[in-house]
């Protein structure tokens, strides 16, 4: 029982990063009704860019690396928007989808080439802190990952519900024609959505690096798949859904890793997706109010 609680809580804390990745997928889908498959790769790319700070100024604090990843993620998000969406006709949704697949592979390749395919150490904060309650422990670095992710999500919700940009973003995602009639520039909102999700992705990548201890180019594909699973389980377009599904998938895979081993773990995550697709295809929170 203690093993179960321990692995579940570790997984839920780590699942906050999945939640961030899921939010990135779901927000772009909500606004543009398109999938950005390069998102997880760009997030890992952002985390790598954060490491450049250590290269320039050796001994830079972990916080600076995280912040660098955050900013680089935003820049990468904008680049993905420009290359995969801005110049590609709206009438051809498959073209944009394929462009993002190409971008996913390109980012992957760049990382492999620049690092010679060798995993790099990633700094963490509070990794020497352990909170103990009897036999039960909470890892300080995982708590940090959880708290940072939650703060980013709160920031996103504040942006969406308290600012002019957020009003425009919600308007475009719910009724794009009416948003244009209100004088909102849809192209700008789309671009800003990519920047904002990119910032979140950069943080997610950095938090994954911090909790695993290393960054590896092998992360991009599984993270893309986990992100999509979280998005589907949460309900396409639903932010609260992505958050809960992220924590759920994190806890679920951690428990199964504990009891069935790391090689079988993802099998059960796929089964979880399958169960959802059969019994609740709309996800936990199917977004209320359609587009039309």
């Amino acid at each position: 029982m203690l093993d179960f609680l321990q692995s579940a809580s570790d997984g839920i804390l780590f699942g906050a990063t999945y939640a961030l990745i899921g939010i990135g997928f779901t927000l772009v889908f909500g606004v543009m009704h398109k999938l950005n498959l390069a998102y997880a790769a760009a997030s890992v790319g952002g985390a790598y860019c954060g490491l450049l700070i250590v290269k320039v100024a050796a001994g830079a604090p972990a916080f600076a690396v995280f912040f660098g990843a955050f900013l680089a993620g935003g820049v990468l998000g904008y680049l993905v928007y420009l290359t995969c969406f801005h110049f590609i006709p709206v009438s051809n949704p498959l073209a944009a989808l394929m462009a993002t697949v190409g971008m996913l592979l390109l980012i992957d390749e760049i990382i492999v080439h620049e690092t010679d395919g060798v995993p790099l150490n990633y700094p963490a904060m509070f990794d020497d802190v352990m909170l103990r309650v009897g036999e039960f422990t909470l890892r300080g670095d995982l708590l940090m990952v959880f708290v940072v992710s939650m703060v980013c999500m709160a920031g996103l919700l504040a942006l969406l519900y308290k600012t002019r940009l957020g009003l425009a973003t919600r308007a475009v995602s719910q009724q794009a024609v009416a948003a244009q009639l209100c004088g909102i520039r849809v192209g700008r909102v789309n671009a800003m959505t990519f920047v904002v999700t990119g910032l979140l992705g950069g943080i997610a990548g950095a938090m994954i690096g911090a909790s695993v201890g290393t960054l590896s180019p092998l992360l991009t594909t599984p993270l893309t798949i986990k992100g999509l699973i979280v998005t589907v389980i949460g309900g396409l377009g639903s932010i609260p859904g992505a958050i809960i599904a992220g924590l759920l998938v994190g806890g679920f895979e951690s428990v199964l890793q504990q009891f069935r081993g790391v090689t079988e773990r993802d099998l059960y995550v796929m089964l979880l997706l399958f169960v959802f697709l059969v019994f609740r295809p709309g996800g936990l929170f199917a977004p209320k109010g359609g587009r039309d």
Binding site: L167, G183, I184
Partner: protein
Amino acid sequence: MTRKDHPLLEVSELVTAYGKIEALKGVNLSVEQGSITCLLGPNGAGKTTLMMTTAGILKPRGGSIRFAGTEIAGRAPHAIVAQGVALVPENRLVFPAMTVIDNLQAGAYQRRDRVETGADLERMFARFPRLKERSAQLAGTLSGGEQQMLAVARALMSRPKLLLMDEPSLGLAPLVVEEIFRIIADLHMDGATIFLVEQNAHMALKVAQHFYLMEQGKVTFSGTPGAMAEDEVIRRAYLGSAKA
């Protein structure tokens, strides 16, 4: 400033096409400052296409749209809103998962004068008390008539010089339709210029000073309500011309 003898909106030889099919085949019409002008016509005549082209959602293939002396044909929707044109679209198109207040704020998106915008919000609530009662409710939960009022109020929040309305009575109960037309008449009393598309020709001709009949992408008749030809126009507005 515009010269007084110029109409506020002047559409000439406007052509809009969906692929190879021309929905507007050279439309000519004008809307006078301070008037209610009504566009009648059967389904598929191109009325909504004209509204969407004027608002910039659809791009014309040719012709011109002059608003207050400025050419706006083919400009982006946000630029046209900035010029002072607002469209209440067909089927209302409210933001369903946003509150009534947020819908109205979205209508004022281009305005930076927070205090004045707040005052306008209060004016909307005074004009539409039902919206005030439901101000914190999601727009998708409103009735059809309330959603129509919200769509009108949202368009007014941009302080337009010209209000375009596309089928405001569509799908509403007769009593609600009467209320909508009372609102249109009120807005006109307060000095608004309104260009109205309607299927409900009887109601529209009661409020309008001028009307156009559109059939198969062209304006085929124009006049003032009460003229002799009204019965014929109403028949054609519902049924299309005899040759169709």
